[in-house]
Symmetry: C2
Amino acid sequence: MRAPDELRALVEEGLAALALSPELHGLEESLRYALDGGGKRIRPVLVLATCEAAGGRAEDALPAAWALELVHTFSLVHDDLPALDDDDERRGRASTHVAFGEAVGILAGDALLAEALRLALSYPSPQVARELVDATLGMIGGQYLDIRGDDYSEKVNRLKTGRLFDASVGLGLWVAEVPEAEQAPWRVFASELGLLFQLVDDLLDGDGSVASVGAEETRRLADAAAERAHARLDSLSVDTTVLEDIVAGLAARTA
Amino acid sequence: MRAPDELRALVEEGLAALALSPELHGLEESLRYALDGGGKRIRPVLVLATCEAAGGRAEDALPAAWALELVHTFSLVHDDLPALDDDDERRGRASTHVAFGEAVGILAGDALLAEALRLALSYPSPQVARELVDATLGMIGGQYLDIRGDDYSEKVNRLKTGRLFDASVGLGLWVAEVPEAEQAPWRVFASELGLLFQLVDDLLDGDGSVASVGAEETRRLADAAAERAHARLDSLSVDTTVLEDIVAGLAARTA
């Protein structure tokens, strides 16, 4: 079992060297720029850690892990566009549409989604790609509810953030060939983890749950989600130490 | 063997009743609007006709045919955006971003692409989805070269238009379970058909090839492409009468 930092190094190395379709021509530069933003790579690390905990090889899960990071990056590139969140910066750098222009920003997002599916389709069975595309549709639906601005915040978070956490765990399970009938407890774990991530995000940003129930209550809710995530891992009869580390890291994160 | 019009009716009926992901919530309305634009459905009809000619059942090819039409529609919705071609109208109606706002236009295109892949992934083998995603990447690369405005017109057409024609034939072949080693002549046919389509488009719009070599020479080139497409069909030892009709229809089209 490798520690989260070792898994993250595996993800980074492969992402930097990822072969993209030659038919993208010069558009490739904008995809690489968006992928090179130095995120925490939480989702792909979770894919690898889940796969190892479930008895698979992390290396076999790498294409699925990269695919998920590409979907996440696609969503950031499109969310940053002027018509959506209109963010000029992302992690201290110009966002993709600012660096390359809005037209390229739109096409770069499209291509990231298509490249993600191409990676997910490198597996002999279509299950990995199906998991990814279903989660992507949920995420897009969440983004739609978000821009509508209705009072849907829990539902929005469940879709916008939660669906990719579901997929992080789901992709690892499919690669490790865990039968669908045995996936339920893992998927409940994923759902607690997505909630924990969102609540800590709200604490760091001072919005969402913090705005509606306050920081103290949000911290309590986050700790309760972390506790339930740990309890769910305890119920699995496999070595989940790396996943425990990930839960603890998410609960304690400060950025 | 069913005539192109009968195949088109099959496509239309299913598209109107297509089940979309419930997680899209209200975004669904914009996808249906974009899909309901009354296009000629040339690409999905070609999927069905190829599948039947190659010995498969058109009904089995329907999800692949719809998937391709969704990718085509995704590309139109994003191409019409202000940052790209900035088209307010599409086939006599307000384009999707005008009818629903720019943010929804972006998300609707994203969701159409993801729904297309979901449909393509309904097959047990990943070949249909792989064909579709590879063609999509080529098409996006063509759109990138187009907005760059470099003098790439033949290459742009080969990618932007040609790759979805390749996929129209390729999808039909995979559903009919034609082994890859036997697909080459069909794929040459697809490439001639894509060229024919583009040349006739240029004749109708008075641009592209017409602007560079004139209308008369463009007509001659189109007729030569149609002739090569027919010759390629003649070389196949199956009943290709419906595909012959499609070639003749494309060569003679006036809209």
